[in-house]
């Protein structure tokens, strides 16, 4: 029997096992929306802005490991998803975005709600397609899912003109797909693995540095085995948190611009660096000329372009994190050589000396709410087992520093693109995937307003997200940089006329609580966590002058961290607190 393109689209989602699709209807997508209406297997989540759809699907993908799906209309529908697509692209998140397009005969005519979706998204997708013939639809969708989820994952866009969704053909969903031009390598080369293991076992001051590749490849267990087998120190990037248990003594914390002193110093002094599923991002490396001056570098990555892009590797290994870790563990166990115990003991003594500086310490006697305190309490009260999404800025760094993630896929943030507005919609995707779990969105009053409209979506689908708003009345990270590097000229980082977030939450049908005093922090968090079926917006009025420490300033190396707050901490020019 022949089906319409719209029906075929739905059947493809069924055959692909899609649970949720996040979207917003519009003219060019109406045939598809009509077909969606006639079934109940795929649940459609109606967002309030298409950017929210892309972030929500992204959150779902990162929390579950399954591809996140988005359905939007042509023109503004798809342009609104671009920020979300670019976010997913930078963090290698598997997203499949379907956009309606004007009918094929109108393409290029500047038709109503027409835009070149494939052209606009090309630089920020792993691949994209324009389906011109209904007979190609099923195979294209199969390819889209295949490309999005294999190798280094990433977003794929499928642009479907309206007439294609109306035309009919036989439906057949391909069981598998082979593409002559796309064959990602997942298995590491045995010769390279042998070389890597030799180097690893000869290390005197080793360091293991891992990133989002561990999370995306579900290799946390293998990494944990690998690190514990060797007894080496391990650091994670912002994207890699949860890849190795943060409460394990072998973990030295996050590295990079706002990483721990011990992690960054260990990077600087190490003689063998094992990088797995990490891409030597500038926020991680600091000044490249000063980066790991003593290290022989092993670099494992599924994406060959990540290797030697910023830092040359002595032993490059192209392969999936999981598979290569399994092979390396086998090789280490089979080797006669053991790690140098005496050298390791000396190395750990040094690391522990750095650690004893307690670089994340903050003023616990303050009469103002310290953001770090809120996060410590949140960590304790959720027993470290919540899903935590964040927006971008100071609160993101504090969350990464103070919430200790023992499990992968619990920490969901926009690390690469740094997209303010990501946190709330991402939390929706996570909460839908895990309806019974605690999902917290750590945010700030600037970030949260960028997708605040999704509070309405949360109401429609009863998503009991806990929003932890660290409200310092400033774009905190911008203010911090202006304080440090622009002589305290706080140019447009202060937002006058903030809404009353308690009333705002209530207006959307949720619970809002404002917290002004440190003594009320714990009670408010408890109350919010007890409200299992309500979204609670916790508006913490935090210290406006707090800065994120420690910090590697631009142009400096890992060994040049600023530890203590600068002496010139002065209240901002428009102090509200």
């Amino acid at each position: 029997m022949e089906l319409t393109g719209a029906e075929i689209f739905i059947r493809c989602l069924h055959d692909e096992g899609v649970e949720y699709i996040f979207g917003y209807p519009g003219g060019a997508a109406l045939h598809i929306y009509d077909a969606l209406y006639k079934q109940d297997k795929v649940k459609h989540i109606l967002v309030r802005h298409e950017q929210g759809a892309a972030h929500a699907a992204d959150g779902y993908a990162r929390a579950t490991g399954r591809p996140g799906c988005v359905l939007v209309t042509s023109g503004p529908g798809v342009t609104n998803t671009v920020t979300g697509i670019a976010t997913a692209y930078m963090d290698s998140s598997p997203l499949v975005v379907f956009s309606g397009q004007v009918s094929t005969k109108y393409i290029g005519q500047d038709a109503f709600q027409e835009c070149d979706a494939v052209g606009i998204t090309r630089p920020c997708v792993k691949h994209n397609f324009l389906v011109k013939d209904v007979r190609d639809l099923a195979e294209t969708i199969k390819k889209a899912f295949y490309i999005a989820t294999t190798g280094r994952p990433g977003p794929v866009l499928v642009d479907i003109p309206k007439d294609v969704t109306a035309n009919r053909t036989e439906y057949r969903y391909p069981k598998s797909v082979t593409m002559r031009s796309y064959n990602p390598v997942t298995k590491g080369h045995p010769v390279q693995i042998k070389k890597a293991v030799e180097l690893i076992l000869s290390a005197k001051r080793p360091m293991i540095y891992t990133g989002g590749g561990i999370i995306m490849d579900d290799a946390a267990e293998e990494l944990t085995d690998f690190v514990r087998l060797l007894g080496f120190p391990c650091t994670n990037t912002l994207m890699g948190l949860g890849g190795f248990p943060a409460t394990d003594p072998l973990f030295v914390g996050m590295l990079g611009m706002h990483g721990t002193y011990e992690a960054n110093m260990a990077m600087h002094e190490c003689d063998v660096l094992v990088a797995i599923g990490a891409r030597f991002d500038d926020r991680v490396t600091g000044d490249l000329d000063k980066f790991c001056p003593h290290a022989h570098i092993v670099h494992v990555d599924v994406d060959p372009t990540s290797i030697a892009k910023n830092v040359p590797a002595e032993v490059p290994i192209v392969g999936g994190a999981k598979s290569v870790l399994v092979d390396m563990i086998k090789a280490i166990k089979a080797a006669k050589k053991r790690p140098d115990a005496a050298a390791l003991a000396t190395w750990w003594a040094q690391i522990n000396a750095w650690r004893s500086l307690n670089c994340l310490e903050y003023d616990r006697k303050s009469e103002l709410i310290k953001p770090q305190f809120v996060l410590e309490k949140l960590y304790a009260l959720t027993k470290g087992d919540a899903f935590v999404t964040s927006d971008v800025g100071q609160h993101q760094m504090w969350a990464a520093q103070f919430y200790k993630f023992d499990k992968p896929r619990r920490w969901i943030n926009s690390g690469g693109l740094g997209t303010m507005g990501f946190g709330l919609p991402a939390a929706m995707g996570v909460q839908l995937a895990y309806p019974k779990s605690t999902v917290c969105c750590i945010t700030g009053e600037a970030s949260v307003q960028m997708c605040i409209q999704e509070l309405s979506t949360c109401k429609q689908y009863d998503l009991p997200i806990k929003i932890v708003n660290l409200n310092n009345r400033y774009m905190g990270m911008v203010r911090q940089w202006q304080e440090f590097f622009y002589d305290r000229r706080y140019s447009h980082s202060y937002m006058d006329a903030l809404p009353d977030f308690v009333q705002l939450a209530q207006a959307y049908g949720h619970v809002g609580i404002r917290i002004d005093k440190p003594g009320d922090v714990e009670g408010a968090l408890k109350e919010a966590l007890r409200a299992k079926d309500r979204l609670v917006f916790l508006d913490f009025m935090t210290d406006q002058t707090e800065n994120v420490y420690p910090m590697i300033e631009a142009g400096r190396g890992h060994n040049e961290m600023a530890l203590a707050p600068r002496m010139t901490v002065v209240s901002t020019d428009r102090e509200l607190a």
Partner: protein, 175 residues
């Protein structure tokens, strides 16, 4: 250093813009680029000339290989190869210069492919240096128009840039 990178590309709309977009997005140079379908209508052959350090060229080839539409790629400058470019040039050919231009065309082994009372249209192939030299030589006559194809390249020897490694004719004969 100058490199000639040659690739087989899915013959699909948008494939060329993925290649061009990669170069502009990542700040790589393109000196010339030429593309046309091959004997297999599903494949195009794209040849581009770029300049960069070894590290940059390595990134360029890796980034190109990562594009889903790029089927196979080779850096021709890594081995022995032949490069050719075609030049179509229209030159004033009146008075004294008419004979002189004709002589220059013969010296450079070009062809005059269109003639009027006052102009020659000339076709010339060769490597980029030769074409540059010819353009310089006829400049005095007065150049009306220059059209260059961009560099094409092919490896010397028996091996070709193909999708499947088909057994060569020699092997077949032996079998």
């Amino acid at each position: 250093m100058r490199h000639i990178i040659s690739m087989l590309l899915e013959n699909e709309s948008g494939a060329l813009s993925r290649v061009a977009g990669l170069f502009s997005a990542r700040g790589y140079n393109i000196e010339s680029l030429s593309v046309a379908p091959t004997e297999d209508p599903t494949l195009s052959r794209l040849t581009l000339v770029t300049v960069g350090s070894d590290e940059i060229i390595e990134q360029i080839t890796k980034q190109l290989n990562k594009l889903v539409d790029v089927v196979k790629l080779m850096d021709l400058t890594e081995g022995r190869h032949i490069e050719r470019e075609m030049l179509l040039i229209k030159v004033n050919a009146a008075g004294d210069m008419r004979e002189e231009v004709k002589r220059l065309v013969d010296i450079f082994r070009g062809h005059i492919i269109d003639v009027t009372d006052r102009a020659y249209t000339i076709e010339l192939t060769g490597n980029a240096d030769k074409l540059d030299a010819f353009i310089e030589a006829v400049r005095a006559a007065g150049i009306v128009e220059v059209v260059r194809s961009g560099v094409l390249g092919i490896a010397r020897g028996e091996k070709g840039l193909r999708v499947e490694e088909k057994p060569g004719a020699m092997a077949k004969a032996a079998g």
